[in-house]
Symmetry: C2
Subunit: 306 residues, 2 copies
């Protein structure tokens, strides 16, 4: 298995948004600049949501104003509504990421409306974005299962993907919002999605909530997917699983890819250094393994006989 994998780093958005400790704006900017320098071609920087709803990301505009834009890196912001889109455009984001759950129960709990109403809102946001040169992506949340409803029919997921494409949204993300996916299901859903979305526009967003994050990446990659979200250190989490791990860990994913001969364009050594600094920023240990164990090729001295 060879080829390329495109990894979008999401720690400063999907990770920081649930941290109890507020990460200072200057620290966020320094981390994003350092992540840019390791070679990421896509970084989800922050979210233009209500500061009341997600106080951890209330500095989204300041962060976008402060980061150095590395040529070749796309700086993305999550946006919940037209107001958020206007703020994102003012902040000169490269891409807007929209999100609606396929599960009606989850979307009502999360966004206060039906998925259909969310997608209708996407149409208005697309009008706001049109002609600005800003790119768009939309996420199908709970695509691999809803913590309230359980399994979601594949046809329903694909119907939502089609609705996104009909709005001229460029990229589509299938998100395993609460870590319910398994590799067999991933293979089925990715195969279906790739029939209507080109691989360079389809992103998979996995959480490691039940330990299957990288197994799901492997299944998706084998089925033809090439773009993945991941968070430095495995930051992120799930409100229904206190103590469980969060997003798949970027440096563990990069290590797996490189060991398999799959190029990512990311400097793994530099990434491990950034991950080892995360506990200072967030105030706790993080789930990533490679930052603790080192790369497989980092050899150890032979113990001397007593």
């Amino acid at each position: 298995m060879t080829g390329n994998m495109l990894i979008q780093e999401v720690a400063t958005r999907d990770g920081f948004q649930i941290e109890a400790r507020y990460v200072q704006t200057a620290d966020k900017i320094a981390l994003i600049d350092a992540l840019s320098a390791t070679g990421f071609s896509r970084i989800e920087v922050s979210s233009f949501v209500s500061p009341k709803a997600v106080p951890a990301l209330r500095d989204a505009a300041e962060v976008f104003a402060g980061i150095a834009r590395r040529p070749g890196t796309v700086y993305v912001a999550l946006v919940p509504n037209t107001k958020g889109a206007e703020r994102a455009l003012a902040a000169k984001v490269d891409e807007i990421n929209l999100v609606a759950s396929v599960s009606e129960t989850h979307n009502r709990a999360n966004m206060g409306m039906t998925p259909a109403a969310s997608i209708e809102g996407f149409g208005r946001i697309m009008e706001t974005v049109r002609g600005t040169g800003v790119s768009t992506n939309a996420t199908v949340a709970t695509a691999f299962g809803c913590p309230f409803e359980g399994d979601q029919p594949v046809d329903k997921v694909m119907h939502q993907v089609e609705a996104y494409l009909a709005l001229d949204i460029k990229g589509v993300t299938l998100a395993d919002t609460t870590g319910m996916a398994n590799p067999a299901q991933v293979e089925r859903l990715v195969t279906r999605a790739l029939a209507i979305v080109p691989a360079d526009r389809l992103t998979l967003h996995f959480h490691n909530t039940r330990g299957l994050g990288l197994a799901n990446v492997l299944a998706a990659y084998s089925a033809g997917a090439r773009r993945f979200d991941a968070a430095l250190g495995g930051l992120g989490g799930c409100p229904f699983a206190p103590g469980a791990t969060g997003n798949i860990c970027t440096e563990d994913l990069v290590s797996m890819a490189h060991e398999m001969g799959i190029a990512t364009g990311v400097d793994l050594d530099a990434l491990i250094g950034l991950s080892r600094d995360l506990p200072r920023l967030v105030g706790h240990d993080v789930p990533g393994q490679v930052a603790k164990a080192g790369r497989p090729c980092d050899l150890h001295p032979v113990p001397q006989a007593a």
Copy 2:
């Protein structure tokens, strides 16, 4: 992907052997009996090593004397030498598991001799075992890489497997002793091994040291492997990676298998209950995820609007 997977539970051997806190003999016996009741067809109970070398397992004989033998479950002991084999036979084990590293440096550090000398010793142990009705398995340690030497040539690994088979050893385990394996390598090595070892006699032993444990299982299963070692709660570890996770976690593996439609014969609910009790026995949190997050099918109540 459907079919069956045979999981050998190794927590009381590969897990407990590195725990700082001594797990009382009665607690070990109670846990093994409870594991038997969840349906495991194979449990690696303990190790007949020198009590000085591994004090945590000094009660191997008492544990074997105390456990209830469930019909249909094979109770295995790790054995380093002829003396250990004699103790294991006296304890009425069902199967003896031998181990030698393919890496000469690792085997010298671990066993104080060359791999060739270890395998010569296996011949003497096989003479001791012959006619007793006790089954045998031998492990190729560092089969996916050595922390001192790095990569190990596949031909060298296969040569060692052939040496085991020539001694009439029934089962063969390929062990990723320090968690260096990646899915592409696993696929290659399993494919080679299955050309000379039937699937019902080949076991894969993975560690999750770098987060790839279940991805490696998926690659091995896809390549035709059907038998896997795993430890309750993800107990176990690696002396070169303090803070890193240990063996692949049994309940996470069982959850993945069942979600994929692969039968294991193990009662996942009961297993999760046992994993949740582990911190009481070992005195610390354990890495397993499903015990924290619950099964994917465990749904949550819908939050009520404020």
